[in-house]
Every structure is written in structure tokens, then in C-alpha cells.
């Protein structure tokens, strides 16, 4: 009887902790959100920000907040969420905590297609602003598809190890191709491309929010509904089969969802890496390995990280340091610390 009680207590304890962590994260996101609203090339006082939010601002203040800062911050939140959840799912599929959307060619594919586009069209035309995220998405999904096909074997389907190795090889190939193509670009276009690749949240427009949102609204609940499958996959291939998981099918749909989330995110944010790697990592430290908690909490952690990175990027230098670089500068040392700690 006492053991019974203890059991329930311990199960509830984990859920409680996850809720507590989530609430704290939401709270932090709100705080950073308001600080971020006040950060930028034109200074607005907090009072001005609040007045403007409630419709009392001048035309210029309205423009800055509603047309420049808010959409950009919303994009940062959505992209952070998308990349983090994509990373969490991928880590579950390949059973390797070092996986991130980069290994299935997302960043390389998106980068290559943007680059091909730029070598034929100018950056500034309206058409390119609409076309570019679309092409980036196609490039990202295309690279992921190629990696999938190359690592597929009829007798065994997709094995995580082959997926990872093929991913690395294809990404290396694409990157090499990009270096060759760089020679074709004029300096101005190159400048834009470099910033894009570094992950400057360049698509700061409500249009892009609308383009990105449906992906997240559909895929995140879907992935969440697969939390138990991800838990089972974590136990290893043979155990998953024994428990009746249809490995090949589950891996395929989860992989497709991860690609969708990451490709949509990268298409509006540019080549942001690392979020998909460290957000799920941090999350596991906070709430453990169960995917019911890992999926929502890594979404929050990713959103917080990217919002913060974008704000710091705008704070230290005008016009800005790309958020992707800030993420890498903060993320890399943290990651090394994690690896060092894992050893013992």
C-alpha cells in the first residue's frame, strides 16, 4: 500500500516538474519578449512600447513595433520551436543525442537552393522575397529526400547509422558545391548570402509568420501524438519490434515531420544550426527522457533561446549580428561542457 502511494507520487513528480519547468520557461519568454521589444536601432522607452501596443503610439512607433520588431520576434519564437522539436524527434529516431536537423541536410539543402536562386536573380526584387523561402523549403526537403533514398535499403529499410553517415556525406558534397558556386556571385549578393547562411532572421514580415505557422500548427500536435512511439524507439530496434511498433513506417512519418518542421523554419530564418541540437539536450536535463515532456518543453526552450539570441544580436551591433552566430557562440561552449560532463 505504501509502495503504491510512493509510485503515484513519483509518477506525478515528473509531471509536476515538467509543468513547473514549462511555466518558468513561458514566464522567461514573456520577459525576454518585452525586453526585446525595447531593443533595436531606434530606442523606445518601455512606456512608449506599452502605449504603442495598446494603440496609442505615433505612426513611426507603430511602424517599428508592428511591422519590424513584432513579426521578427514572432518568427524567432516559431523558428526556435520548430527547429528544437525537429531536433528532439530526430534524436529519437536515430537514438543519438548528437543528431540535429543539419544531419538530414536541411541547412545545406536550403542554402544551396537559395544560392542557386541568388546567382540568377537579384535579392531586392519583390518576387525574390516571396520565392526565396519557398525555394529554401524545397531545397531543404529535397536534400532530406535524397539522403533518405540513398540510405534506404530494401532488406532493412532505414537504419539510423546509415542515415547519419549518408547525411554527413551529402551535406559535405553540397557544401563543396556551394563553395564552387560562390565564385559566380557578385560581392553584394555574396554578402547577403553569407548573412542568410549565418542565420539572420531575415524574413521579418507577417507574411512569413503566416507561411510558417500552418506547418507548426499541424506537425507539432502530430509529433506530440507520437510521443509514446518515440519512447518505444528509444529502447532500441529489437525491443521496439517486440512491442509491436511498425519501425519502418513510424520512422518514415516521424522523419518526414522533422523535415517539415525544420525546412519550414529554415526557409524563413536562414541557416540556423545548433538550436535543434542544444534545445532538446537542455530539455532532457530539465525534464528527463519521456517524450510527452521532451516535445513541448524543447519547443519552449528553442523559442526562448532563439528569441534571446536574436535580441542579443540586435543589441551588440547595428544593424545586427545574425542570431545563428549568437546561438553558435553560446551553444558551442555549452555543448562542449555537456560532452565533458557525459564522459564521467
Amino acid at each position: 500500500m505504501r509502495a503504491e502511494k510512493y509510485k503515484q507520487h513519483s509518477q506525478k513528480g515528473k509531471a509536476k516538474r515538467a509543468v513547473l519547468v514549462s511555466v518558468t520557461l513561458v514566464f522567461l519568454i514573456i520577459i525576454i519578449f518585452f525586453i526585446s521589444l525595447n531593443t533595436g536601432s531606434i530606442y523606445l522607452t518601455p512606456a512608449e512600447v506599452i502605449l504603442t501596443l495598446f494603440g496609442q503610439g505615433t505612426e513611426q512607433q507603430n511602424l517599428i513595433l508592428f511591422d519590424f520588431r513584432l513579426p521578427r520576434m514572432v518568427i524567432a519564437l516559431l523558428v526556435g520551436t520548430g527547429l528544437a522539436i525537429s531536433g528532439a524527434v530526430l534524436q529519437g529516431i536515430v537514438r543519438n543525442p548528437l543528431a540535429d536537423p543539419g544531419i538530414i541536410g536541411i541547412n545545406a539543402g536550403a542554402g544551396l537552393s537559395v544560392m542557386l536562386f541568388l546567382s540568377f536573380f537579384a535579392v531586392t526584387t519583390t518576387i525574390s522575397i516571396i520565392l526565396m523561402p519557398f525555394l529554401a523549403f524545397l531545397g531543404a526537403a529535397g536534400a532530406a529526400f535524397i539522403i533518405y533514398v540513398l540510405s534506404y535499403k530494401r532488406s532493412e529499410g532505414i537504419t539510423p547509422m546509415r542515415l547519419v553517415l549518408t547525411g554527413i556525406a551529402v551535406a559535405a558534397g553540397i557544401n563543396a558545391l556551394m563553395i564552387v558556386l560562390t565564385l559566380r556571385l557578385n560581392p553584394e549578393t555574396y554578402q547577403f548570402l553569407a548573412t542568410w547562411l549565418a542565420g539572420s532572421i531575415w524574413g521579418s514580415d507577417w507574411q512569413f509568420v503566416l507561411a510558417l505557422l500552418p506547418w507548426l500548427v499541424i506537425l507539432i500536435p502530430f509529433v506530440y501524438s507520437k510521443a509514446m512511439v518515440l519512447n518505444i524507439l528509444h529502447l532500441g530496434e529489437e525491443t521496439s519490434i517486440g512491442l509491436g511498433a511498425n519501425l519502418e513506417k513510424e520512422r518514415r512519418v516521424l522523419l518526414a515531420s522533422a523535415v517539415g518542421l525544420a525546412a519550414a523554419s529554415v526557409s524563413v530564418s536562414g541557416g540556423i544550426g545548433f538550436i535543434g541540437l542544444i534545445a532538446p539536450h537542455l530539455t532532457r536535463q530539465l525534464v528527463g527522457d519521456k517524450y510527452e515532456y521532451v516535445i513541448p518543453v524543447s519547443g519552449l526552450v528553442g523559442a526562448l533561446l532563439l528569441l534571446l539570441a536574436d535580441m542579443i544580436g540586435r543589441f551588440i551591433k547595428q544593424p545586427e549580428v545574425p542570431a545563428g552566430i549568437i546561438v553558435a557562440v553560446i551553444g558551442a561552449p555549452y555543448f562542449l561542457y555537456l560532452l565533458a560532463r557525459l564522459k564521467d
Binding site: A3, Y6, K7, S10, Q11, S155, Y224, S225, A227, M228, N231, I232, H234, L235, G236, E237, E238, T239, I241, G242, L243, G244, A245, N246, R284, G288, D289, K290
Partner: protein, 284 residues
């Protein structure tokens, strides 16, 4: 009544067949053990029965249905498997891992129902894990961990259990502990148990039915009495075995053995003379 029918299967990795045209039947409500030297294909056979490996030809039937064709979740409700290399994420508690055994019965996001809890609690109880059910898996000893995996398989509520070397890496007492648990599950609940064991004497002591393999083929099968003969062991393992009677089960066990020497390959001894010889040396 046979639980599993293996019908003329071909199995192999890549282009090399390990098992060719193998047929065997596994009896219901009995403990069946597959034995054989390294690389004889016993692991391949049990993995094929567990549908971890696909067949290249032939078929495996579980209660009359082809296991590689039927919905894998339906199979999971009738047959649970314990792979050789089961590894758990360290942060999970014993209870959580065992609860994953209910996966085949879950629909979508649905949380565990009352029936699920009953199965889980029973599995915790019958494997003697009540005391440690809230500990992290990583905090357990090897023997306890193996019990947890068996408990997870039991929570699946299946009539058939397939285990690939469940006692490997355990010390003597813990090996016996696991086998006694399996024996009890078979005796008290009539579960069909199929496993691979390395230890011949354990196999003989706990099985109703034994399958001896060599080079991807079944050399002989039958009761321990029929399989554990000097001639068979010589053919299967290339050893000269000195057999005796197990004081616990009265089945034949291998007391000691020599490697077979080619020229005197037929020099085998019978159970009783070996046993007598043993007693003579022991008393003399």
C-alpha cells in the same frame, strides 16, 4: 497443439543464407530451448521467430498466422520478446519501463487504463520488483535489470515469451533466479517459453523440449533425455561429454567434457557408466 510452426525458412544477412530450408514446431505451454555452438544460427532462428529478422523464403506461423504478414501490433499482443541487447534510457524508472509493455494495447495518445495498471502491477509483483519499482533503471544490478525486461515482456500479457540468451552476463545465482522465474511462469500460468541458452545443463534442467543446431540446421530435437546424448553432443559441439543425472530434475547433464579427437571420435560413454565413474572417483 503447436504454438509456432517454422516452415521451410531461408534466412540470412545480405547475400549469405545462414539458415536454409529449416522447419521446426514449437509446442504450446512448454519451455523450449535452442542450443548449439557459436555461429550455428540459433540466434538467427530465434530472431526470425521474433520477427526481428525477415525470411527470404518460407514462413513462420504463430497460432496459424504468418508473423511477417500480420499486423505487428497484433503479434505483440500474443508474443513478447526479450532481445539479447536490451538497453534502457538511464533516467526511466522500473515502473515506467514496465508500463511500456502496454504499448500494443494503446490507441494514439490514450493514457493507461485500469486494465493496463492491473497488468503492470502484476508484472512488477510476479518478478519481485515491488521494492525497487521507483528506482531508475541505471541504479539496478544486472540481474535486477534483466528482471525488469522480463517484467516488461510480461506486461504485454502474451501467451508466448521469446528470450534470446536471458542469462548471459549474469552470475550463477542470478542465472538460476531468472530461469526459476521462467519455470514458474510456465508451470503456474502455462506460458509458452522459447529461448536460446548457452549453458547446456540449464537447458536440460529447465526445458521440456530442446532443439540442437549446427551450421544453420537442426541436428536433433526432442526431450532433454533424447537430445542430451553423447552422440548428439559430439555431433553438435564436437565434444566428448561425460554425462550424469541432474539431482534436481533428473535430466541428463554434462559433468565435464573433452574436445573430440578425430581418431577416437566414437569413444563415447553412456550416462550411467559416466555417472558411476564419477562416483567412483569422487569416493575413491
Amino acid at each position: 497443439m503447436k504454438t509456432i510452426e517454422v516452415n521451410k525458412i531461408d534466412v540470412g544477412y545480405a547475400n549469405e543464407l545462414i539458415i536454409k530450408n529449416l522447419s521446426i514446431s514449437i509446442p504450446s505451454n512448454k519451455i523450449t530451448t535452442i542450443i548449439g555452438p557459436n555461429g550455428c544460427g540459433k540466434s538467427t532462428l530465434i530472431k526470425t521467430i521474433a520477427r526481428i529478422l525477415n525470411v527470404k523464403g518460407g514462413a513462420v506461423f504463430l497460432e496459424g498466422e504468418e508473423i511477417h504478414k500480420v499486423d505487428t501490433k497484433e503479434i505483440a499482443k500474443r508474443m513478447a520478446i526479450l532481445p539479447q541487447t536490451a538497453e534502457a534510457p538511464g533516467g526511466l524508472t522500473v515502473y515506467e519501463l514496465i508500463s511500456y509493455g502496454r504499448f500494443p494495447y494503446k490507441k494514439g495518445m490514450g493514457s493507461l487504463r485500469k486494465e493496463d495498471y492491473e497488468y503492470i502491477n502484476w508484472a512488477v509483483d510476479v518478478t519481485g520488483l515491488t521494492e525497487v519499482q521507483n528506482r531508475a533503471i541505471s541504479a539496478l544490478s544486472g540481474g535486477q535489470r534483466q528482471r525488469v525486461w522480463i517484467a516488461m515482456a510480461l506486461a504485454q500479457g502474451t501467451d508466448t515469451l521469446v528470450l534470446d540468451e536471458p542469462t548471459t552476463y549474469l552470475d550463477l545465482a542470478h542465472q538460476l533466479d531468472i530461469l526459476l522465474l521462467l519455470e514458474r511462469l510456465n508451470k503456474e500460468e502455462g506460458r509458452t517459453i522459447i529461448m536460446v541458452l548457452h549453458d547446456l545443463n540449464h537447458a536440460s534442467r529447465f526445458s521440456h523440449y530442446m532443439i540442437a543446431m549446427r551450421d544453420g540446421e537442426v541436428v536433433t530435437d526432442g526431450t532433454p533425455e533424447e537430445v542430451m546424448t553423447c552422440a548428439n553432443l559430439q555431433q553438435v559441439f564436437q565434444i566428448d561429454a561425460h554425462l550424469a543425472r541432474c539431482p534436481h530434475s533428473a535430466n541428463p547433464i554434462c559433468l565435464s567434457y573433452q574436445l573430440c579427437q578425430a581418431e577416437k571420435a566414437s569413444a563415447c560413454c553412456s550416462i550411467n557408466s559416466a555417472s558411476k565413474a564419477y562416483h567412483q572417483t569422487a569416493s575413491g
